[in-house]
């Protein structure tokens, strides 16, 4: 199992999970690393959860079982918490801290978890938690929609994935809209810096 890296990305529909996954896919191709991924889409437009699984290395499976993720990246804090079933004690977790409460909270059918408690719980159960306010960093990069690239930057900083920041930047140039390339790369850098020292 050691030459395989298993990454789960969870996000709310519209946060750009699938674009981030496709950038990583391209980066892996450039780096010559085998990569398979799977997605559950269909509910992305309707505010549901989008989960993607990326398996780097010589594995055939395209999905990741509970307890077997090496890295979990959550674009939304309650979704990061919800995806803990994919983690084990060695998993590294990266999460955005800006909440997007589901409408069930607004209609009184659920209580949004306390963000400080959420971080405590995740830290206690996994190897490491990198928590950042990806929305602020995305705005600083020039567009709140670059939250996905901020979190990709943090992910690259951990060094866990067998792809480099350069591979990812080249992939951003080929896979994202020309008008947004500079912002996306700035967002990646900001996420990278924010993750160091956590």
């Amino acid at each position: 199992m050691s030459d395989i890296t298993r990454l789960i990305i969870v996000a709310v529909g519209g946060q750009g999970n699938l674009l981030a996954s496709s950038v990583l896919g391209e980066a892996a191709l450039l780096a010559g690393i085998p990569l398979r991924m799977s997605e559950i889409h269909g509910m992305a437009q309707r505010g549901g959860v989008v989960e993607s699984a990326l398996v780097f290395g010589n594995a055939q499976s395209t999905i990741i079982s509970d307890g077997e993720a090496d890295v979990l990246v959550g674009f939304e804090p309650s979704e990061t918490l919800r995806a803990l079933n994919k983690c084990n004690a060695r998993t590294v977790v990266i999460t955005n801290l800006s909440p997007l409460p589901p409408f069930t909270v607004a209609i009184g059918k659920g209580v949004y978890p306390d963000i400080a408690k959420l971080q405590q719980l995740i830290r206690a159960k996994t190897a490491r938690l990198i928590a950042l306010n990806a929305v602020d960093l995305a705005k600083a990069a020039g567009n709140v929609l670059s939250v996905n690239m901020v979190l990709l930057g943090a992910l690259i900083q951990t060094g866990i994935l067998p792809v480099t920041a350069d591979h990812v930047k080249t992939a951003i140039r080929t896979k994202t809209k020309a008008a947004f390339v500079d912002i996306n790369i700035k967002a990646l850098d900001l996420g990278f810096d924010a993750a160091s020292g956590q």
Binding site: S22, E26, L35, S61, G67, F103, A106, G110
Partner: protein, 616 residues
């Protein structure tokens, strides 16, 4: 140029399974492709649709899967390579055509793709369509990976032409929606025009003709069996006396499991990719060299039952197991850890499993179910129906589309759903034997697909219910595909007809017909109440373009609304509409101006008139 038309054999591209399948069809020189949209197959058709606009490929979104197969049956019998794409339940709709098309056969290759959905990620059941092979007598091919899916398509066309029969190509969601690098092949020249040669005593399936054709089908099935025995898609890897037989994505999970458990020299793995007819001789030979065999297949024990029968024929009594306690379930999908555990337990090898984190002290996390979009016209229609039906005891048969989501709280608009178009037929039944007011819902695409016969039945057999047709001008749930009611001019496409749902309803002789604009709440409620009071069949057509689809055409965004200081916190808006643009800020309701579509429905229901348009 569309990326899937890239003419660079040997180049590598990272593709979604569905893209790989579409590319495989291009490499096979497919000339006609037909479909009715259905997840997880929808991206195959989307790519065909795009490619057809810049090449000689003919592609159409047909009214339903039966029609799509009939179109392809004709083109294939005119010698043109054709492909028909659908989700698994779609094959039920096409089954009438399929069963007798198997007798008639084809001249040009015909590949029928069924995208099965174990775990029902986006379907009403998880039926195992491998049984259609047995039922129809047609060959079935099943890939185990994205790259294999692409490579198998040209093989499927060759097989179809060799047998002169359609071939069923079966995928599951984890193939359709996985992504992997794929190596491109050469593109075969496309031949778009064919010819139909008269031969009525082989084409018109009256009993005397069919009796003959059935003999031909069985002979073709024997030919298929011979090919299955030598197909490169049925292969054995590994060595040892422990045997595993598998298909589809299980092959991927097993490859990893065998390596992780370190049993490569103890286990022989037989991967079946040409799964009907099963390669009998190959399997009997495989069984003969094993001390015990595990069958690993998602869904039904389709292979397990066949393998057990082969063992009996070969006089073998080794243990063969697949489904059961401590083995595999018929439910849902598999995953790598589950497969590793069962394999380890079955063959008695140690299996180290990394413990999952302890979730017992995690607070309850609020659910995030999919919701109708902000500004969705269905939300407005459902609200109006709810208000108009106050005081009535109701039953709400519903149907398949975005509006199905309306059955969730707080709207609660949906009581019964079994299949496409079932809203119409079930309304007839409920209203006949109960005293409740029956109000049913159907979308525009579903209406054309299979709602019309139910409505005809209601008029002919004089039933009593209100049929609400939610016409948002597009097939929305599956990703905004065209249907016969859609204005194709908005997509800058010419040469299409457009059928008026209102005209069809009136032509059927429905005695009470009304049209509402759902964003006009008060008028909609009045019109619906009138319809509910009518004794007999009444139809109300709610016309408003899908808000998400409309966003693509609007030059400027509609004005958003905001909650003013007049708000007295009644919470009618949130509790009755639950629009996702609402959020709570310090216990007060606010509207996210980016999400707000400006439909103003909340503004019309606020008892304080506190919701106002944002000033320009």
């Amino acid at each position: 140029m569309h990326k899937l038309l890239t003419d660079q054999p040997g180049a590598t591209m990272v593709l979604l399974g569905n893209e790989a399948i579409a590319r495989g069809a291009i490499e096979a020189g497919v000339a006609v492709a037909t479909t009715y949209p259905g997840t997880p197959s929808s991206e195959i058709s989307l790519n065909f649709f795009q490619i057809s606009q810049e090449s000689s490929l003919y592609f159409e979104y047909s009214t339903n899967e039966k029609v799509s197969l009939e179109v392809a049956a004709a083109t294939a019998n005119s010698g043109v390579r054709s492909m028909c794409v659908m989700k698994h339940v779609g094959l039920n709709v096409a089954a009438d055509a399929l069963m007798t098309l198997a007798y008639v056969g084809v001249k040009g290759g015909l590949v029928i793709l069924t995208a099965d959905d174990p775990f029902m990620f986006s379907s009403q059941n998880e039926q195992d369509n491998r049984y259609y092979g047995k039922l129809s007598g047609l060959a079935i091919l099943e890939p185990s990976s994205v790259e294999e899916a692409k490579n198998m398509i040209p093989y499927a066309f060759e097989l179809s032409e060799a047998l002169q029969e359609p071939v069923i190509f079966r995928t599951t969601t984890r193939i359709n929606h996985s992504t992997a690098p794929v190596t491109l092949g050469a593109i075969r020249e496309r031949v778009c025009k064919g010819d139909f040669v008269k031969d009525p005593f082989n084409y018109v399936t009256v009993p005397a003709v069919s009796r003959k054709l059935h003999v031909k089908l069985l002979a073709n099935l024997d030919k298929a069996a011979e090919r299955s025995e030598v197909s490169p898609y049925n292969f054995i890897s590994g060595s040892g006396t422990w045997g595993i037989i598998c298909n589809g994505v299980s092959f991927a999970y097993l490859s990893d499991a065998i390596r992780d458990l370190g049993i490569q020299d103890k286990v022989k793995l037989l991967r079946i990719g040409f799964s009907h007819p099963m390669p009998q001789k190959m399997i009997k030979g495989f069984l003969g060299s094993c001390e015990k065999v595990l069958v690993v297949e998602e869904g039904e024990p389709y292979m397990e039952e066949a393998v057990k029968a082969f063992a009996q024929e070969a006089g073998l009594t080794l243990p063969i197991n697949g489904k059961g306690k401590d083995l595999f379930s018929r439910l849902y999908e598999f995953n790598p850890r589950m497969v590793r555990q069962v394999v380890a337990a079955y063959f008695g090898v140690p299996c180290k499993l990394e413990p999952m984190v302890d979730l017992s002290n995690i607070p309850k996390i609020p659910q995030r179910p999919p919701n109708l979009c902000a500004g969705c016209s269905h939300r407005a229609t459902f609200y109006a129906v709810k208000k108009a039906a106050e005081g009535l005891s109701t039953i709400y048969p519903t149907d398949i589309g975005c509006y199905t989501l309306g059955f969730l709280p707080p709207l609660g608009m949906g009581d019964f759903l079994i299949c496409m178009g079932s809203s119409a037929g079930t309304s007839c039944g409920f209203s006949k034997v109960t005293d409740k007011k029956v109000v049913s819902f159907i979308g525009d695409s579903t209406f054309f697909h299979s709602g019309i016969p139910g409505l005809v039945n209601a008029v002919f057999n004089n039933h009593n219910f209100t049929f609400v047709i939610l016409d948002n001008g597009i097939t929305a749930m599956t990703g905004h595909q065209p249907n016969p009611g859609v204005d194709m001019g908005l997509m800058n496409l010419q040469g299409y007809g457009q059928i008026s749902i209102e005209a069809v309803v009136r032509a059927l002789g429905v005695p009470h017909v009304a049209v509402i604009q759902p964003y006009k709440v008060k008028k909609s409620i009045e019109t619906l109440r009138e319809a509910f009071n009518f004794k007999g069949v009444s139809v109300v057509i709610a016309q408003e373009m899908c808000t998400l689809y409309a966003k693509g055409f609007k030059k400027t965004k509609s004005r958003a609304y905001y909650v003013s200081d007049k708000c007295r916190n009644h919470r009618d808006c949130i509790s009755q509409l639950a629009c996702p643009a609402f959020f709570l800020d310090a216990e007060k309701v606010k509207i996210d101006p980016v999400m707000c579509a400006g439909c103003a429905v909340c503004a019309q229901i606020c008892p304080e008139n506190a919701i106002l348009p944002v000033k320009a």
